[in-house]
């Protein structure tokens, strides 16, 4: 993983210095952030989990779970969420890798400027991109004849457009670390550009791709603004379902169940990513 060497470079506190009266100070320093985390994140999360076990009819039971899991809408939303996230991530990886390759290795004027713009792009709100796409492809947009923006494909396009820079950022950093002498050695050994990309650049970029890809996957699973703004009626993802149940149907236990499922998927995927990346020895 790209960030790991930096983490390892942080000197660890030597054991003897922790003894004596100053021994408790590290724990004390950890207390405020832990308290803040508990107050603002863990406690509300716990409330959500508790609510998900309290059906409107009173008492504590797994009824809300049974109801939600049995509903066609939930299973449909789960499937939509997962395939949209996976497809968006795949699209971002391919597009981001190609764009980062061009910016890093094809000398053209303004390559630095483009790389800077990527940084700015990351700070844009996600719905802004959707709004921009609406202006072009929407029913009243410049090219209004395409009606695909309200389909899952519109959401996919918007997510790929918005999240690709999240893949490019770590890739550009990885490429700037790449030793150009390696590329030259490969070239003088008789390798053309496609082979150099496949055999030299891609293996070096794998940790960055894994980092960027897992980030995008988790962000896509939880994406709300893009789906809302495309106005795609048939596209209901888990966050949309939470919104619908809580705000429109006032079914709080149901909304909480969906939210818990969403959190579990995110945490599960993150855990899977950590295991895989550690296996890969990165």
């Amino acid at each position: 993983m790209a960030g790991d060497p930096a983490l390892q470079a942080v000197p660890t506190r030597s054991a003897p210095r922790n003894e004596g009266p100053r021994r408790w100070s590290p724990q004390l320093w950890a207390a405020p952030p832990a308290a803040a985390l508990a107050l603002f994140f863990l406690y509300p999360l716990a409330l959500v989990v508790r609510q998900s076990f309290q059906p409107d009819s009173g008492g504590t039971s797994v009824r809300p779970y049974a109801d939600v899991f049995a509903s066609q809408a939930f299973r449909h939303a789960l499937w939509t969420t997962v395939w949209l996230a996976v497809a968006s991530t795949a699209g971002c990886l391919v597009l981001g890798f190609l764009l980062a390759l061009v910016i890093s290795f094809v000398p053209f004027p303004g390559a630095k400027g483009v790389a800077r713009f990527i940084d700015v792009y990351l700070s844009f709100p996600s719905f802004l991109i959707t709004l921009a796409l609406l202006f072009i492809y929407g029913t009243t947009g410049i090219i209004g004849s395409f009606q695909f923006l309200t389909t899952p494909w519109g959401v996919l396009l918007a997510e790929v457009t918005y999240f690709t820079p999240f893949v490019m950022r770590p890739l550009l950093a990885a490429f700037s670390q790449l030793d150009t002498a390696q590329l030259e050695a490969a070239s003088s050994l008789g390798a053309r550009a496609p082979r150099i990309v496949r055999r030299v650049i891609l293996p070096e970029a794998l940790p960055a791709l894994a980092a960027g890809g897992s980030l995008v996957l988790v962000l896509c699973l939880n994406e709300f603004g893009i789906v809302l703004f495309t106005g795609a009626k048939g596209v209901t993802t888990l966050p949309m379902l939470v919104y619908g149940k809580a705000i429109l149907e006032s079914d709080y236990p149901g909304a909480c169940v969906v939210a818990v499922v969403n959190v579990l998927i995110s945490v599960g995927l993150y855990g899977l990513y950590r295991v895989v990346s550690r296996r890969a020895g990165a």
């Binding site: 002498a181 050695a185 050994l189 008789g190 070096e204």
Partner: protein, 353 residues
């Protein structure tokens, strides 16, 4: 295969105002080791990169074996290249690194295996075939890089400061290895870029001395060392005392002293530079005597180096370890044999250290 530079000019970023290489004319004969020797920024690496195809000359041509390759991309030139920082592929094992060029050329599998083994055998790395580069020392990595370059059986091998990243002891060992490889591969022409005169003198059949993007001198190590033609070459190939002298009949005068040296066809009365190697300067009275004051003494184990000020000029003398070295400020006599001095027609450059 011969390498020929035909007035090759390379500019930084295509800017003709600042030249990285100024109209280089040089031919490396088939099977010859040519060292490009010069300080950093002298254009020697640029010349090598022009042969490899990584820089495009703004004018002039590069020929390999009589064929114009100026417009060929690097992957079609069939050249082996070894660089200072090894540039091994970190995610590939040693044998996969060596096989890289053969795979790129779509060599049949069986032949790849055989040639990889052969190349690793030749560089003494056969026992490390299944290691990763990060598990090897610097010297071992450089051997792998050489094996990788040799596996494609190039007829031209480019070496860009290949020993600069190694420590002194390893360097002399690798120097002997490279000399052995050259004997075992008599058909391979080598272009060896270095700033280290010892490497150039040891390994090269001929040395091309470069400075400020230009070729200063080219000749066998013996020629350049014994009879340098200009002050820059004299001081860069071996240390040299460069003394400003006035040519007289049958000798030169320096700091009021008459020195008997071969003046060749330099006319009397001309100003010139006399080059005397420090290790050929003796202490005490003798022919061609210079008297001066000891300004510095450096004990180097086997030798003493004296800096003697003669009429405002520092004269270096490398003497076999002295039992009773002179003291600072002491007045001493130095001498040298007439045949050990070379008269350079050019003026003095720098102070010759």
């Amino acid at each position: 295969m011969s390498i020929r530079f035909d007035s090759v000019t390379v500019a930084y970023d295509g800017n003709v105002g600042s030249l990285a290489l100024d109209a280089l004319d040089l031919t490396v004969e088939p099977g010859e080791v040519m060292a490009l020797l010069g300080p950093s920024g002298s254009g020697k690496t640029t010349a090598l990169r022009a042969v490899a195809g990584f820089v495009r000359p703004v004018s002039g041509r590069v020929l390999l074996g009589g064929r114009d390759v100026t417009d060929l991309p690097p992957y079609r030139r069939g050249i082996g290249m070894v660089v200072q920082q090894y540039a091994l592929f970190p995610h590939l094992r040693v044998d996969e690194n060596v096989a890289f060029g053969l795979r790129a050329r779509r060599t049949p599998r069986g032949e790849i295996r055989q040639r990889v083994a052969e190349a690793l055998e030749m560089t003494g790395m056969a026992a490390y075939a299944r290691r990763y580069p990060r598990e090897l020392s610097g010297g071992q990595q450089q051997r792998v890089a050489i094996a990788r370059a040799l596996a494609i059986r190039p007829r031209v091998l480019l070496l860009d400061e290949p020993l600069s990243a190694l420590d002194a002891q390893l360097r002399s060992g690798m120097l002997a290895e490279l000399a052995r490889l050259h004997r075992e591969l008599p058909d391979v022409s080598m272009l060896y870029v270095t700033h280290d005169q010892v490497e150039a003198l040891t390994l090269a059949d001929r040395i091309a001395v470069m400075d400020k993007a230009r070729l200063r001198a080219c000749g066998t190590p013996r020629e350049l060392y014994r009879a340098p033609t200009d002050a820059f070459t004299a001081s860069f190939v071996g240390g040299a005392n460069l003394l400003p002298v006035t040519v007289g009949p049958g000798g030169v005068s320096f700091a009021g002293a008459e020195l008997k040296v071969e003046t060749g066809d330099v006319v009397a009365g001309a100003r010139a530079t006399l080059c005397v190697r420090p290790h050929l300067v003796g202490l005490g009275a003798g022919p061609n005597q210079l008297v001066g004051v000891v300004r510095e003494i450096q004990w180097r184990g086997a030798t003493h180096r004296l800096y003697v000020e003669v009429d405002g000029h520092a004269v270096m003398a490398d003497l076999r370890e002295l039992r009773d070295p002179p003291a600072h400020g002491e007045s001493v006599s130095l001498h040298f044999a007439a045949e050990d001095a070379v008269l350079l027609p050019a003026g003095v450059v720098g102070d010759g250290r």
